[in-house]
């Protein structure tokens, strides 16, 4: 790993230090999500050599949400007026390395390598300029960087785990290019051919072809080359397996001390009043009807959310009462939003809406892999202004090992939410999970209905959603 990436990684985790009540500084544990240190695979080759077809074929073959393709075409420089006029006359050299903004590419790749979110520019081929939109890439485990100069910049090469050069016959390349540019990029045939001989071909010989020398494998005939395809797929599968193993091992390391150390003071366990115990008994009873289960779970989750809301920031507010007097009260300092960790977290939403009817709610789907038990992030949509909210309630029905909660908190932190603004709300939690989570993120607050000793399967969501 390059030094700069390591430095950024540390920065993510050392945002603030948490003072402990006894005056010592808590030793912060380190958690690396499986998307930190993403494996990057570069695919270069002549225009029309089948790079993007090969990339898509690899992604299809793996059929996993965390393999993402990044096209270098997104990093074309925006053209100034003069260059733009040349471009419209097909006299601008798009096929030279100078047309690519490698600085931005390197910056984005380093962000992704550090596990951060990266905003990828959207380039308009019709206007020859970057649009003001961006698409964001977050949490891929494998990133395929595809483009004629994918293996050109030494800073990019340094970040890559596998380098592929696609080879194809020049006639094939030209005919593919004519078809594609006409169809997808709104160009006319004359212009395309003019460009080919003026720029594409000379540039290929000068800049593109020499990239073979740095490639790990050279793939002739693109997707038709089954042997090469399965080699690449095999390599990626191996990388994914290594990441999963590392991730699980890292989670296991966080277990040390779980039984001996007391639970963090920022964890609030609901007072076990007789009503709370009575409701817990109904919820735990396998013979409880679904109607009762849902009723009592909603009732209890509303209390969990009420308790969670005591941890959000308030400011004094001078109130004029209807009686013509004043009252020195409080009001929330700012917006409070929620993020549900699906599917379990959705069971707490009825309770959430009893307290904040119009609460903005982000959603993420974290599933545990059936074979390995490793939590995996499948889906993520957050309110766009989440980094400005004063508090974010993170909802999950149950937390046992804490793996998915760690991942969920990491996701929020990566999206600009300060850890001390996160309140995790969960119906039940294992000691181990609480320990892991508060070791890595000592700033977060946790509100939990009850603490259980063992790792439990996720039965609450099964009962609540009845399947």
């Amino acid at each position: 790993m390059p030094a700069s990436v390591a430095a950024e990684l540390t920065a993510v985790f050392n945002g603030t230090t948490a003072p402990e009540s006894n005056g010592t500084i808590a030793k912060r544990a380190h958690y690396a999500p499986p998307w930190a240190d993403v494996s990057i695979i570069g695919i270069a080759g002549s225009s029309g050599s089948g790079k993007s077809t090969l990339s898509h074929a690899i992604v299809n073959k793996l059929n996993l949400p965390w393999v993402v393709i990044l096209s270098i075409d997104s990093f074309y420089k925006s053209l100034d007026e003069e260059a733009s006029r040349k471009a419209f006359r097909n006299e601008y050299d798009f096929d030279a390395p100078d047309a690519i903004d490698f600085d931005v590419l390197v910056e984005r790749l380093r962000d992704l390598k550090a596990g951060k979110r990266a905003e990828i520019p959207v380039y308009s081929f019709e206007k020859h300029a970057r649009t003001d939109r961006t698409t964001s890439i977050y949490s891929p485990h494998v990133l395929i960087v595809e483009g004629i100069f994918a293996l050109y910049d030494p800073r990019v090469l340094e970040l890559m785990d596998m380098k592929i050069f696609c080879e194809a016959d020049a006639d094939t390349c030209l005919s593919r290019r004519i078809l594609r540019d006409q169809r997808d990029r709104g160009r006319d045939i004359e212009g395309i051919i003019k460009q080919w001989f003026a720029y594409v071909k000379p540039n290929f010989e000068k800049f593109v072809d020499p990239q073979r020398k740095v490639a790990d494998i050279i793939v002739p005939r693109g997707v038709e080359n089954q042997v090469a395809m399965s080699m690449v797929v095999q390599f990626i599968k191996q990388k994914l397996l290594e990441k999963s193993t590392h991730h699980r091992a890292a989670l296991t390391r966080l277990e040390i001390g779980a039984q001996s150390e007391p639970i963090s003071e920022k964890v609030t366990v609901m007072n076990q009043t007789s009503q709370m115990q009575g409701m817990n008994t109904i919820i735990h009873n396998i013979d409880t009807s679904s109607e009762d289960f849902i009723f009592y779970f909603d009732r209890l989750s509303a209390l969990l959310v009420e308790q969670a809301l005591n941890n959000i920031p308030f400011i004094p507010a001078e109130i004029a009462t209807s009686q013509g007097r004043t009252y020195a009260g409080l009001r929330p300092k700012g917006e409070v939003s929620a993020v549900t960790v699906l599917r379990g977290g959705a069971a707490l939403e009825a309770g959430l809406h009893r307290c904040i009817t119009d609460c903005k709610t982000g959603r993420m789907l974290v599933q545990s892999n059936i074979r390995t038990g490793e939590p995996e992030l499948h889906y993520l949509v957050l309110p766009p202004d989440i980094d400005k909210h004063e508090a974010v309630l993170l909802l999950d029905a149950q937390m046992s090992s804490g793996g998915s909660a760690l991942m969920a908190v990491q996701v929020l932190v990566d999206h600009g939410v300060k850890a001390d603004r996160i309140v995790l709300v969960t119906y039940s939690a294992g000691r181990m999970g609480l320990h892991r989570l508060t070791k890595v993120f000592p700033e977060i607050t946790v509100v939990v209905g009850q603490v259980v000793q063992d790792i439990e399967e996720r039965w609450v969501e099964k009962r609540y959603f009845r399947c």
């Binding site: 920022k266 009575g278 509303a302 308030f314 009962r463």
Partner: protein
């Protein structure tokens, strides 16, 4: 002559936060009766009360936020009901040593403001029976007078959650309890749920019924010359139903 207690200002917030990091607010006046439970003065509760006290709060918000406070009152009140130990089997097949609720309950609201608390009660106790009592001030004597009541027939066998959001002098609440006692409900099986009380109202009520439990969200400073709670929140019934 009005009798107003000094305000009690405190830093409110979770225990793990340093005093300097907690905002200050006026919290409930203390009272000296074991039978009176005041809800924990959390920042969230103070903020909810701030909303319903505010004269500029619209009716929709008044209903929503007062309902949140009422649910907390009901949840706290229900903790005074008896339970027995009860072991069940969980969906993952292990035994769970818990509790089960004992005894039948019913609600009784003092019309009209008390009826505003019925929704919160039903949100915690589905299909609970609810009786009603109408007490109004008699124009001639200026004393509270019973105009109407409709109560469950078996009320003497039930625990009664008596609902009235405002406890000013305690006149109507005391009369309502007298009605319940005349129907055979023992005093110690009545729970009075109240949003906002005056110290005088608490004093009168708790002295008269030393075995009756009262749960309130907040005890205010006192009463003005018209016997309205101050700083108060106005007329709860008007703000909930008609304003």
């Amino acid at each position: 002559m009005s009798d107003v207690k000094p305000t009690l200002t405190k830093c409110v917030g979770p225990v793990y936060r340093a005093e300097s990091q907690k905002p200050t607010a006026v919290v409930s006046t203390d009272v000296e009766f074991d039978t009176v439970t005041i809800l924990p003065q959390t920042p969230q509760l103070i903020a909810l009360l701030s909303i319903i006290r505010n004269k500029d709060t619209q009716r929709g918000d008044f209903i929503f936020y007062s309902n949140r406070i009422i649910r907390l009152l009901v949840e706290e009140g229900l903790n005074h009901l008896p339970t027995v130990e009860h072991t069940v089997t969980t969906p993952v097949g292990r035994p769970y040593d818990g509790l089960s609720f004992q005894g039948k309950i019913c609600g009784v609201s003092i019309m009209r403001a008390g009826e505003a608390m019925e929704q919160g009660l039903r949100e915690c106790c589905r299909s609970v029976r609810i009786g009603k009592i109408l007490i109004q001030r008699d124009e001639e004597s200026a004393r509270p007078k019973l105009f109407y009541d409709k109560l469950p027939e078996d009320i003497a066998d039930r625990w009664v959650l008596l609902l009235d959001p405002m406890l000013a002098t305690g006149g109507s609440a005391i009369m309502a309890v007298d009605v319940l006692k005349s129907r055979g409900v023992p005093e110690d099986r009545i729970l009075f749920l109240n949003v906002l009380a005056s110290p005088q109202g608490i004093q009168n009520f708790a002295t008269k019924f030393p075995k009756l439990r009262l749960v309130t969200a907040f005890v205010d400073q006192g009463l003005d010359e018209k016997n309205y709670i101050i700083p108060g929140l106005g007329d709860f019934g008007d703000r909930y139903y008609t304003m």
